[in-house]
């Protein structure tokens, strides 16, 4: 079956045999965007988080057929070196990543949170940022999330 969607601002169509194939594998293996990571395949760790119509989605458990006509953003489309997204900017300022593997998922989850809650409290962060980071960079991440909210709100 043919599935069409917009990804990082570009219109794409993919030919796929099984519409239940997780969106993650189409993005990684067909479209060759490797920034979205595989961690568990059960929507339990959040490493594969991306945006579908602005919502944070765990793409390992999101069938590609449901992406039809949707607007997808991955870490590659969030910001650039020259023009990083406020979340990326804050991550850089606070030197958050260690191994870095889970970080795109956290960054995408945080970017989606800030759209809903422009100034999240610690409780908002605890309730919404529930991805897993084994290097345990949570301490710096929390500071970076607060900082990202300030940057995004023009309070830099």
């Amino acid at each position: 079956m043919k599935i069409s969607f917009t990804i990082n601002g570009q219109q794409k169509s993919v030919e796929i045999e099984n519409g239940s194939t997780p969106l993650l594998w189409v993005i990684r293996d067909t479209l060759n965007l490797k920034g979205t990571k595989f961690g568990c395949g059960k929507a339990a760790c959040g490493a594969c988080t991306l945006h579908v119509n602005g919502e944070a989605v765990r793409s390992c458990s999101f069938a590609v057929k449901f992406a039809e006509g949707k607007n997808i953003t991955t870490i590659e489309g969030l910001g650039t070196k020259e023009n990083p997204h406020p979340v990326q900017q804050a991550w850089i300022e606070h030197i958050v990543p260690q191994c870095g593997y889970c970080q795109p998922g956290f960054i995408m989850a945080t970017a989606a949170l800030l759209e809903k809650k422009p100034s999240p409290t610690d409780a908002d962060i605890d309730a919404n940022i529930v991805n897993v980071c084994r290097c345990a960079t949570y301490y710096r991440m929390r500071k970076a999330i607060h900082r990202a909210a300030k940057i995004k709100n023009g309070d830099s």
Binding site: E17, N18, T21, P22, W25, R28, D29, N32, K34, G35, T36, K37, F38, G39, C40, G41, K42, A44, C45, A47, T74, I75, E76, G79, T80, K81, P84, Q88, W91, I92, I95, V96, P97, Q98, C99, G100, Y101, C102, Q103, P104, I107, D122, I125, D126, A127, I129, V130, N131, V132, C133, R134, C135, A136, T137, Y138, Y139, R140, M141, R142
Partner: protein, 717 residues
């Protein structure tokens, strides 16, 4: 300046097994006292780099745009080693740090550390060799520039990747362009450390921006043209093995290219990962399950008094356990999973007698050897390419999956990429072994300890590991991994001993960040705290009074004092909050933690941790602090949350969530790290700060509840 083909440097003579090995090999009769001497020495010894690369031009590449590529003998798994290496190189090679690119060396380069990236040793081992290599490279550039200008090399100056002679300048890349026959200088004079521009400064990680943009390539991201995907069967039951398999249904599945059958596993190779996984589920497998292991059986094996015994520390007299004045407390820790987010896997290609494997590994040298043996290919024909690692934590010291990937690739004649499912990752980890501890102590009339004994039982850590030769293990007579943190650091206690009991379990156990340190320190430091409380002493002063005046004891005292002072440590409960104190020393790096804890809805909550850590010379203080923060939260996770158990003969749980880990909501909102640079060389950093956290939390809970928790993970009844 002399011309020679190779330059053998001091650090190479120190290479190989290291001082520990050399010392052991030279002594044919092992008395246990000699071994104990070695154990105590090994606690402060930095085992040297054990690669064979001796030529600076193997380590460095200068590209035409004047980029300096450092081929690193060590891998980057988050610990920040590449950044520290870049700092060292920039300062000695006289280049700007943004001119440097660091890549994990391929085994074909000959410079990878043949042992591992582990033990938190990368910067500690390579600080001096890398300074020498970079300085040598700098002098080589000058020699080549001097030839082009017909000048004297020693009269030239270098800065920012530019070599100058008066008004004339030349980029390093121009100086060394087209050079094939290198003139090698003697070991040059190193820069004064006080003049370093980068070393010692908290500069941003060199992989920071790429990682924030999602650019780096991990093992999971590696690709080759015409690549196929595979999935491999693994038994769900501990100790089970493959009896027979019916592949008929799987073979008919869409996208299947080949089913590869070996004695103890079956692999499905298909056009996509989803197809490989779907076909694997159609394999009808008959497993031989000799027995269904229970949690109780594992617990009953893992007991002090069972297995092989070795006294790892012995000063003064042994306690009489029947003495009515002896206090004895038992502690336990559970099976722990690595749970690193990037699953294990490998991408392999076999082309004739040449093999390439791309993966996340902490042991490229061992992986190379294993693939070479399994495929019967000359070792020099096997190239292991290491990517960034999506977490290491000791899990990637075991890479049997690289062999499986290579075997499948050989059968299909195309590159094959294969990785674990998360369930396989949890069931087939090389776990942190469960432990059991009995601590006995006897106080004098003053409440101070006259005697302290730590008896501890552990599964394999270093024993049965591919990175420790069996000969070395039998020479040492103990599991040196399980021993980490097992000896008693309080040197003023006259009678002290540590006794290790070792048993190999029916499932693989191995290195988990900090090895025995986490559980051993939990047991010892909980006990010390209990004795301080019973004696009515302040636990900080109690600890200080048991430490003497030798260099290490003074450094331990310093971190204890620093943590107490900076946290404004109070022994008394304040409102619903209490502070817990604990300290440890690992690999010569002392650390003390103060945890501020409350109990909310019968759950332990850690609000603030103050850490004092003597890391020696901090090449990048910010990244040392990042390692402390990571160790503290990973330690909270291990100490308060994580536990694998046996259920119906299977290791359980098999997914995040049920395998409870500390997440954002469980992480303290305040972490303060105070670095003390008590020696002028870098010490191991990535593990020692994990030591005291479990005990620090338990000690706070003791103050809040009056109850001594003796079991990890810490839970209130």
């Amino acid at each position: 300046m002399t011309k020679k083909k190779t330059s053998r440097r001091k650090f190479l003579i120190r290479g190989g097994l290291g001082t520990l090995g050399v010392l052991a090999l030279g002594t044919y009769v092992f008395r246990n006292s000699m071994r104990r001497y070695m154990y105590e020495m090994s606690e402060t010894l930095v085992v040297p780099y054990s690669g064979t690369g001796t030529e600076a031009n193997l380590w460095f590449e200068i590209t035409s745009d004047n980029t300096i590529v450092l081929h690193s003998p060590k891998v980057e798994m988050g610990q920040g080693t590449f950044t520290s290496f870049a700092q060292i190189v920039a300062d000695e090679l006289d280049v700007n740090i943004d001119q440097i690119v660091v890549k994990a060396a391929e085994t074909a380069s000959g410079i990878v550390d043949r042992m591992s990236t582990g033990g938190s040793l990368s910067v500690a081992q390579l600080y001096q060799p890398l300074r020498e290599m970079a300085a040598t490279m700098r002098e080589k550039v000058k020699v080549e520039a001097a030839k082009k200008w017909d000048a004297t090399a020693s009269a030239l100056t270098t800065k920012g990747g530019i070599v100058s002679s008066g008004e004339k300048t030349m980029k390093y890349a121009e100086a060394v362009a087209d050079i094939t026959d290198w003139s090698l200088p003697d070991t040059p004079k190193l820069r004064e450390e006080s003049n370093y521009k980068y070393v010692g400064k908290p500069i941003k990680r060199i992989d920071l921006i790429p990682k924030v943009l999602g650019e780096p390539i991990f093992g999971m991201d590696a690709e080759m043209p015409d690549m196929l995907f595979a999935a491999v069967t693994r038994p769900q039951h501990v100790g089970a093995s493959l009896k027979s398999v019916n592949t008929a249904a799987a073979e008919k599945m869409s996208g299947v290219v080949k089913i590869v059958q070996k004695d103890d596993w079956v692999g499905v190779v298909a056009n996509s990962y989803s197809e490989a996984l779907a076909a694997k589920r159609k394999l009808e497998i008959d497993w031989d399950i000799p027995k269904k292991w229970t949690e109780e059986e594992i617990r009953s094996i893992m007991q002090v008094g069972k297995g092989d015994k070795m006294i790892t520390q012995k000063h003064g007299k042994a306690l009489d356990p029947d003495d009515a004045d002896v206090v004895s407390i038992e502690f336990t820790s559970p099976i722990g999973a690595h749970a690193q987010i990037e699953p294990n896997g490998a991408l392999a290609y076999v082309n004739g007698d040449k093999v390439t494997v791309i993966l996340s590994t902490q042991v490229p040298g061992v992986t190379q050897k294993q693939v070479s043996e399994a495929l019967d290919v000359a070792i020099e024909n096997v190239n292991i390419v290491t990517t960034y690692l999506g977490g290491g934590f000791g899990r990637r010291l075991n890479t049997s999956h690289a062999v499986q990937a290579a075997q499948m690739a050989k059968e299909v004649g195309k590159p094959v990429k294969y990785f674990f499912t998360r369930k396989e990752e949890f069931q087939h980890d090389a776990f942190r072994p469960p432990t059991h501890h009995i601590i006995r102590g006897k106080a004098n009339g003053n409440g101070m300890l006259d005697a302290l004994e730590h008896h501890y039982a552990s599964g394999d850590v270093a024993i049965n590991s591919a990175i420790f030769p069996p000969a070395l293990v039998s020479m040492l007579g103990t599991d040196v991994g399980a021993m980490r943190g097992g000896n008693i650091m309080y040197d003023k206690i006259q009678n002290r001993r540590a006794v290790q009991w070792h048993t190999t379990l029916p499932f693989a156990t191995s290195f988990w960040r900090s090895l025995g340190l986490l559980a051993n320190t939990f047991a010892i430091e909980s006990f010390i705290d209990e004795m301080a409380i019973r004696a009515g002493k302040n636990p900080v002063n109690y600890r200080l009074s048991m430490l003497g005046e030798d260099t290490l004891a003074l450094r331990i005292k310093k971190v204890i004092q620093e943590a107490a002072q900076k946290s404004n440590y109070k022994d008394e409960v304040s409102g619903n909050m209490a502070m817990g104190f604990a300290a440890s020393v690992d690999a010569g790096a002392p650390c003390a933690h103060v945890a501020e804890v409350s109990i909310e809805e019968n759950k332990i909550k850690v609000h603030r941790v103050v850490c004092a850590f003597d890391c020696g010379l901090a090449v990048n203080p910010d990244q040392v602090i990042a390692q402390c923060e990571g160790c503290i939260i990973m330690g909270i996770s291990a100490a308060c949350h994580e536990k694998m158990t046996l259920k119906n003969g299977q290791l359980y749980p098999t997914i995040y969530g049920p395998y409870d880990m500390a997440l954002m909501k469980n992480s303290p909102k305040e972490i303060e790290v105070h670095l003390i640079q008590g020696v002028d060389a870098p010490l191991p950093v990535g593990e020692p700060p994990l030591g005291p956290i479990g005990a620090a939390i338990g000690n706070a809970v003791r103050r809040l509840t009056g109850k001594r928790l003796t079991e990890l993970p810490l839970r209130l009844a």
